[in-house]
């Protein structure tokens, strides 16, 4: 496995990439969709190495903490500040997103209520089981990598008839925002690096329309430095051959048809909905919600939460534009001075995979500005 980070391998791949880019009229611009890819690209200095060989990398909307709009966070915060004996369980990153109602981390819960950070959605079931007098709400946020785990947890709650358990869901599907970005044509893209673990669940098919209908090459890519370069190399070959497709460069983990059991449980428990994405606005069929027959376990229905899409954005925050690849973090006027990891203004700086946080962390020149 050491080949994945071997310097000679990286140099070899960069050479091959340079041979291809030399034949092109201009630097190809490639969007890495997934926040974990953004992290790898910056952490290993790949962004600068790639610029030197003529490839421009742009970050995309694949950070669930970043694209979940503030009004959903505010609903979660309200659950625990305005109701007694509520336990809100959540993944860690979500607790630090600032909203008009403060953050989950800083808000003061009502009597007997609290916020608990969990690593797995299943922990919420255990908490609900051992605290029958509390209402336990799991703040379930994620893309297709996480959604099957949440769907299985929901199914288990129903089988166990856990009456004090429900899910406040913010479930997002990757292909629709890519379609929105390509259709909007606000940014010219020559290729997509598709997220490796989302693809382990959904397979190759959901991305094929990007190649077939829009003629844009793409590669399903893993998370080591060599994986990223293999993905880019594949895209450049597709450009050279004039043959846009969806190539699987993470075949050791991703099967062409994805994970059938994961897809089946998603199909069983959830259905698609139109969703508001931070920055991208309302995208049809871009989210998932709990099916009507299971709505007793849907916190939005159980607690009659009125969540108004697009209502919560903090003024001046340009995270939405960063998520579409329209600006890079340093182009936001708040970057560093008014928005940094110690006091983030927007979620792109909160999440460990947010483009702004990653940029800040791995670019020392920017920090020396302070």
């Amino acid at each position: 496995m050491k080949e994945l980070r071997d310097k000679r391998v990286i140099r070899g791949l960069l050479s091959e990439i340079e041979k291809r880019t030399r034949e092109l009229p201009s630097s190809p611009r490639i969007m890495e969709v997934c926040g974990t890819h953004t992290m790898t690209v910056h952490r290993y200095g790949l962004k600068n190495m790639l610029e030197k060989v003529g490839v421009e990398m742009v970050s995309g909307p694949g950070c669930p903490v970043c694209i979940t709009p503030n009004e959903i966070h505010e609903a979660a915060i309200e659950l625990v500040t305005e109701n007694e004996n509520f336990i809100l369980t959540t993944f860690g990153d979500m607790t630090r997103v600032p909203t008009r109602k403060s953050s989950l981390q800083k808000a003061v819960p009502a009597a007997g209520s609290m916020v608990k950070i969990v690593y797995s959605p299943r922990e919420s079931l255990e908490i609900a089981g051992s605290s029958p007098e509390k209402q336990v709400v799991f703040f379930g946020v994620g893309f297709e990598t996480t959604i099957p785990a949440i769907a299985l947890t929901l199914r288990e709650a129903i089988e166990k008839r856990l009456a004090n358990f429900s899910i406040l869901s913010a479930l997002w599907i990757i292909p629709p925002p890519l379609k929105a970005i390509v259709k909007a044509k606000e940014i010219a893209l020559d290729g997509f690096l598709y997220p490796g673990h989302v693809s382990a669940i959904i397979g190759e098919k959901p991305y094929q329309f990007i190649a077939k209908e829009y003629g844009i090459p793409g590669a399903i890519t893993g998370f080591e430095p060599s994986d990223i370069l293999l993905g880019i190399f594949s895209i450049l070959n597709q450009i050279k051959d004039g043959n846009p497709t969806v190539s699987n460069e993470y075949s050791r983990v991703v099967r062409a048809s994805g994970n059938p059991k994961a897809l089946a449980v998603m199909e069983e428990m959830l259905e698609t909905k139109d969703s508001y994405w931070r920055g991208l606005g309302l995208i049809p069929q871009s989210g998932l919600k709990i099916k009507k027959k299971y709505s007793a376990y849907d916190a939005e229905i159980r607690f009659n939460l009125r969540i108004k899409g697009g209502s919560g954005d903090l003024p001046g925050c340009r995270c939405g534009e960063v998520l579409q690849g329209l600006i890079s973090p340093p182009q936001c006027p708040l970057f560093v001075e008014k928005c940094n990891p110690d006091s983030p203004y927007g979620p792109c700086m909160v999440s460990f995979e947010g483009a702004c946080f990653v940029y800040y962390k791995y670019n020392p020149i920017i920090k020396n500005k302070l």
Partner: protein, 91 residues
């Protein structure tokens, strides 16, 4: 958040659960999303669930492609060096 870690299956219980070894720590994991898992298989774990099994054959192929890249690069560098040397001698 695509963070999924590769880990080795060390225990499979009857109830869809078991344990994986991740860098020496045994972590309780749910295996319901995968079929035909054996102790010794490597899986990708995300949020307490194994979501994919590592395919050894595909992994070997990928690593051999990467090794080829490294060798090609080493060869290209050797040739560059030789050229430099011979130019020096001529000069």
């Amino acid at each position: 958040m695509c963070l999924g870690i590769p880990a080795k299956v060390v225990q499979i219980d009857k109830s869809n659960f078991g344990k994986v070894d991740y860098l020496g720590t045994r972590v309780k994991t749910n295996f319901e999303l995968l079929d035909n898992l054996k102790v010794g298989d490597w899986v990708i774990v995300h949020a307490g669930f194994a979501i994919s099994k590592l395919d050894e054959e595909e992994a070997r192929e990928t690593f051999s492609v990467l090794r080829e890249m490294a060798e090609q690069e080493a060869l290209a560098n050797k040739n560059k060096e030789r050229e430099k040397q011979s130019n020096k001698q001529k000069g």
